[in-house]
């Protein structure tokens, strides 16, 4: 009896979650009257504005991942190795982006880096792109930090570092050749999450007036009928694809298997 109620709860949750998605999927296929077709998807993929905004967001996501890895991995490594007492502070700082609304952060950026400030980043497209990159890095910080921190907790960081040092490796070699390859799965998890966040992000891109995918999604939602549903399905597919990749990387990473 207990099992029945458990399955019933799962069933209700699945219906609650999947029914709207199925409805949206069905709607996205009904662009051609009287039959199912992929016209909405073809329309979206053929739209130059979609191509430009999606391409822009993909590049920004890639850069955010590189930027985030370069900042987070050495920082977490150093804190775990040399400053373990700072870990609670790190935990707190990396949680801040979850509690401070993005609109507050972006207004802060605009106030600090406007054209009349000492560092007028918003005065040029490149500067604003960099500001957006920093914003994305901040938004993804809680996920990247936790992914990397969990990865580093799973290896014997101190001993591996000391072993590499005793073999002549300097700090950069230790990080690049020993630590990073051994937390690659964790870093990739953080990277895929970052990718998913950046692709769908709206507030930063809209308020900094950059041609990203998020503002395009909102624009399409207000101006087209079937394409927004197709875009939503594609975005879901992309996000789930990222999650599947995390699983795949974890499963196929051969050196992370348990020792005999």
């Amino acid at each position: 009896m207990k099992r029945f109620w458990a399955w019933a709860a799962i069933g209700v949750a699945a219906v609650y979650f999947f029914l709207p998605l199925l409805g949206m999927l069905e709607f996205s296929l009904k662009m051609r009257r009287g039959e199912y077709s992929l016209d909405a998807y073809a329309s979206v993929l053929g739209d130059p504005q979609f191509q430009a905004s999606f391409g822009y967001s993909v590049i920004m996501a890639g850069l955010t991942i590189v930027f985030g890895v370069l900042i987070v991995v050495p920082t977490v490594f150093w804190v775990r190795l040399k400053l373990p007492r700072l870990r609670p502070v790190m935990e707190f700082v990396t949680l801040l982006p979850l509690v401070i609304p993005p609109i507050v952060i972006v207004f802060g950026y605009v106030r600090l880096f406007n054209t009349s400030s000492w560092l007028p980043l918003t005065g040029s497209a490149l500067g604003t792109d960099f500001l957006l990159l920093c914003g994305y890095a901040v938004l993804s910080l809680p996920y990247m930090y936790r992914a990397v921190d969990t990865g580093l907790a799973a290896i014997d960081l101190r001993t591996l570092t000391e072993a590499a040092q005793s073999l002549g490796a300097g700090w950069i070699t230790v990080l690049a050749r020993v630590i990073l390859p051994n937390v690659l799965v964790a870093v990739l998890s953080g990277a895929f999450l970052t990718f998913a966040i950046v692709i769908g992000e709206y507030v930063f891109a809209a308020l900094l007036d950059r041609p990203a995918f998020g503002p395009y999604l909102v624009w399409a939602g207000g101006n087209k009928a079937y394409e927004p549903a197709a875009l939503a399905v594609m975005t879901f597919a992309l996000t789930w694809g990222c999650m599947a990749l995390i699983q795949a990387v974890t499963r196929f990473s051969k050196h992370t298997r348990m020792p005999r």
Partner: protein, 349 residues
């Protein structure tokens, strides 16, 4: 000056003074063990030599060169860790060749050296395996090969056998010693296992409370302990109380039986002196300077040896008998006479 010279080393963490006035000279090719209980400072000394800890005072010299403030990667010191510390993402061959690659050796030379090292540790076919595909003993051998591959000036072994099971531990310690002799590499071995230290080392440093209590060959440390701590920590010990009768002549009495020790006694006449006696120096048959009545309380069968706990007026005295299948051991409760020679007694400070 010795090849590896540790002079007046000190290490403090705040008010906690973990290594105090530590001096040690190790000759080239020598195998020296740092032996002591947990927290005695032996690993801290090793880590200072490796460069992972900076001494609060003192100096470390290798081959006449001061290395006290050099970074670990500038010292050319090989180290083997208790937890193997093989790089999980690299194969065995890549692990062994790691230090050589860092040193910028040509790949052909790296391949040759790696093959030599794998041959040396008896795993020539394992180069393409990953660490998770090896047993604990194999992993530790690879760790040894990895540490030796760059031809370090000194090899440091930080309790490398502790994580292994008993049988592999015994065979691997013989292998390590054999490889060390073959390569003639100066080695410091840290352990809390006296059997390991005594069986492998040219010299043993017994440490306590951050200091070296005694430095000597295993035979000397075991048979002539200089302090009560060394006598207690290295091997098993019986403590007997004696009354000093003539300190200059080394005369004492044990349970009223007169005895002359091989050396003079640093105590006044009438003082109580503690004498140490190893279990293997006590016997049940034959002659002895002293014969004490006792009763067998317990027998512990330990394979080649039978440990007997005998109750005596001064407490329990332990003695070891060789296990001879044709001579059954005495029974529990049996009255016996414990015999030993005065020359086997060690006067403790």
């Amino acid at each position: 000056m010795a090849y590896l010279d540790l002079s007046a080393l000190e290490k403090s963490y705040g008010a906690n003074h973990v290594v105090k006035s530590f001096d040690l000279g190790i000759e080239q090719g020598e195998f020296v063990s740092l032996l002591g209980p947990s927290g005695c400072g032996k690993t801290t000394v090793l880590r200072m030599v490796a460069g992972f800890e900076t001494p609060s005072a003192g100096a470390i010299r290798i081959g006449g060169q001061e290395v006290t403030h050099l970074r670990p990667n500038q010292r050319n010191i090989g180290m083997v860790f208790q937890a193997y510390a093989l790089f999980p993402n690299l194969t065995v061959a890549q692990n062994v060749g790691f230090g050589l690659k860092i040193a910028g050796l040509p790949s052909r030379e790296i391949a040759l050296r790696v093959a030599d090292m794998l041959e040396l540790i008896g795993l020539p076919e394992m180069g393409s395996r990953y660490p998770f595909q090896l047993s604990g003993g194999q992993q530790q051998r690879v760790a040894l090969a990895r540490a030796l591959a760059p031809r370090p000036r000194v090899l440091l072994l930080d309790e490398p056998l502790s994580a292994l099971d008993a049988k592999i531990r015994v065979s691997l310690r013989a292998e390590i010693r054999d490889i060390q002799r073959k390569l003639g590499i100066t080695t410091i071995f840290v352990t809390h296992d006296q059997e390991e230290a005594l069986s492998m080392s040219d010299r043993v440093v017994v440490m306590n409370g951050g200091r070296a209590e005694q430095v000597g060959a295993p035979f000397e440390v075991y048979n002539q302990p200089k302090t009560r701590f060394v006598a207690n920590f290295v091997g098993t010990l019986n403590a007997l109380e004696a009354i000093v009768t003539d300190p200059g002549a080394g005369k004492v009495t044990i349970q009223g039986q007169p005895l002359r020790l091989p050396q003079a006694v640093q105590a006044q006449a009438g003082a109580v002196l503690t004498l140490a006696l190893r279990p293997e120096a006590v016997h049940l048959h034959g002659d002895g300077d002293i014969s004490l009545p006792a009763r067998i309380a317990e027998l512990q069968f330990m394979g080649s040896v039978i440990r007997v706990n005998a109750e005596h007026a001064m407490g329990v005295i332990k003695l070891d008998l060789f296990n001879k299948p044709d001579t059954p051991p005495p029974a529990v409760g049996e009255d016996i006479a414990l015999r030993f020679w005065a020359k086997d007694l060690i006067a403790l400070d």
